[in-house]
């Protein structure tokens, strides 16, 4: 079958991306020095991408099955703590001077974190979420309860204090180009974040499973009427989302180099704001929203530290005033 080339496909909505670029561009004159701007921008992108990794699973889970997991933070914490144990256990590789053993240790830590978080997600879906499908009030309460229990279990295993999560040796410090200092770890974070984004876009856009997810986000009933057992798919998406949160937890922890059991609750607020900004169920919206948040947090943290803690709320209000359904609305709420 020939698709006439002259018929245009959808006009892609560039405005949110333009906003992102605009914010970055505006930062330069405000900050003054280009070298500082580069440092801050890379830091902002890294932070934004880590948040994106964590939030991407949550937004798909909500979009697909109308389930909002207020306990998503527990996967973040689990991933981060698993990483502390793995890195401590692989001290030889992590402390070695070479890049490859370091990356190896990091890679193992990330895999372990994703596996544990994914398994936890499986249990969570079965025990906590499944019994309350469709009942939003109970969902909010019970997923919160799940987070409390999860956090306590983490405290039981690792103790209630903060744990250090040191970067492997060759990832510490910065690349220096003239005036500009870019932290090595942040570059890695950006690379990993973009990789995750690319993989997600590929799965969603080019595979049949991705097609099912996108369709299911719009109209779950119709997908079932076409003969697909979408509930099974949902478990898979939930587990994948939890695994991603675990990965994000590791990366967040490495960013701060310290991990506390409350990390889940702390990041919870951020990711909720991000998925509201992005539009519930939209991966692209989540991506842009997270980057906006990361950039703004770093720019304003530099320009007006007192205001820094309000940037998130202010961003949310501003975006919702512009687009009440989020940057890239997907579901008709």
């Amino acid at each position: 079958m020939n698709a006439p080339a002259r018929i245009p496909k959808a006009q892609f909505d560039f405005k949110p991306l333009a906003l992102l670029a605009g914010v970055a561009a505006l930062g330069l004159p405000l900050i003054g020095s280009p070298s500082t701007w580069v440092t801050l921008t890379v830091a902002g992108l890294a932070m934004g991408l880590i948040i994106f990794i964590i939030a991407s699973g949550l937004t798909l889970v909500f979009g697909l099955m109308d389930v909002l997991n207020f306990g998503h933070g527990v996967f973040i914490a689990a991933g981060a703590f698993v990483a502390t144990s793995v890195i401590a256990g692989m001290g030889g590789w992590a402390e070695a001077p070479g890049l490859w053993p370091n990356l190896g240790a990091l890679f193992v830590a990330m895999l372990a974190a994703m596996a544990v978080a994914g398994a936890l997600g499986f249990a969570f879906e079965r025990l906590i979420v499944r019994p309350v499908y469709g009942q939003h009030l109970k969902q909010i309460l019970i997923t919160m309860g799940g987070m409390i229990v999860g956090e306590e279990i983490i405290k039981m295993i690792w103790g209630p204090q903060q744990q250090p999560l040191p970067l492997p040796t060759s990832l510490r410090g910065s690349f220096v180009f003239g005036d500009v200092a870019i932290e090595k770890y942040r570059v890695l974070a950006v690379a990993i974040g973009l990789l995750v984004f690319a993989v997600l876009l590929w799965v969603l856009g080019r595979t049949k499973i991705g097609l099912l997810i996108r369709a299911g986000v719009q109209d779950r009933e119709m997908v079932e009427s076409l003969g697909y057992r979408i509930r099974r798919l949902f478990v898979g998406v939930f587990v994948a989302g939890s695994a991603l949160a675990g990965l994000g937890g590791v990366m967040w922890g490495l960013n701060q180099q310290i991990v506390s059991p409350q990390i889940g609750a702390q990041v919870n607020v951020l990711i909720f704001i991000v998925i509201i900004i992005g539009g519930l169920g939209s991966t692209l919206g989540c991506f842009v929203g997270a980057l906006l948040m990361g950039l703004l947090a770093n720019y304003i943290g530099f320009l007006a530290p007192k205001l820094a803690l309000f940037t998130n709320i202010a961003l949310m209000v501003a975006i919702l005033l512009w687009r009440p359904q989020g940057l890239y609305p997907v579901k008709t709420v």
């Binding site: 009030l137 109970k138 405290k155 909720f272 803690l309 998130n312 949310m316």
Partner: protein, 363 residues
Amino acid sequence: MTMLSRLLSHDLPRNRWLAAALLLIVLGLAFAPFLFPGSKALGVAAKMLVFIVLVASYDLLLGYTGIVSFAHTMFFGLGAYGVAIASNRMGEGWAAVATGTAAALALSLLLSLVIGLFSLRVKAIFFAMITLAVASAFQTLASQLSELTGGEDGLSFRNPAWLSPSFEPFEQPFLGVALDGKLLCYYLLFVAAVLLFLLLLRIVNSPFGRVLQAIRENDFRAEALGYRTVVYRTLSNVLSALFATLAGVLLALWLRYTGPDTTLSFEIMLDILLIVVIGGMGTMYGAVLGSVLFVLAQNYLQDLLKLTSGAFDGVPLLGTVLSPDRWLLWLGVLFVLSVYHFPAGIVGRLRVLRSGAARREGP
């Protein structure tokens, strides 16, 4: 009997055990200074009183109107900070307390109105997330404005003369208890808590309260019947916030200190949620029972668990699981089970048991 019924707005416990427990609680709290000597015990009793009002006001929102909000601690904090800031700025005394309370109530009214009108039109999930974000922002605000709020350290202040521990009108202790400002303060809390609770009972049993419950059950239907649900929901939000603010005022008066960790922390919000669900959503008495049990557990269960965990010290997993620090774990598990199996909490379960028994004994 009818007089008692009217006092309780005809919302009776409807269960022997519940009524007995409530009576025990009321008497215990009324005579706490005499029954349980020592400042720790009195502090526990005072905290119970504050939490009863705080959780009951949350039950109005969650149990009766069906709205989940994470901003309740914000209003709690407003009340406490109002009194603290006013006492600090204006010098301690009744004028400061009155001004602080009035200002806090006004601010709470405004905030809850704004939150209600903007957010109650959206889905419950949106609303919950937004309140989470707002509460978090308020918490950072409180710790940032350190000249006003004392930042992370909070504010200490002095109470009006009559409520100060140094106020001792009578030299002789009565029944072993010194008759000083602290005692007066306790009884102020007691009377206030009782009045506020009875007022809440009156509200939920009024026509307004019934409409709230109708909206909770099926808001489409309520809207179709002609009730502007947004108005009712907003009013519920506002009332709930105002009562929480007053609870904050009481707490501040008792502690003579206010800080982000006594009122605004997320842990407190979780505690409120735990209590209201386990005690029983939509019952009001659940708040009483739940708050008392929770505060007791928070303060004394650790000691109890220390005894048991000592016995299990050798056993690896059991030892950690039963450790006194892990009481929150069990509470969390109980919470999850309650949400799923016992949505009406302890109170609901008691009431069902009773009617089940009655049916079995039926004619």
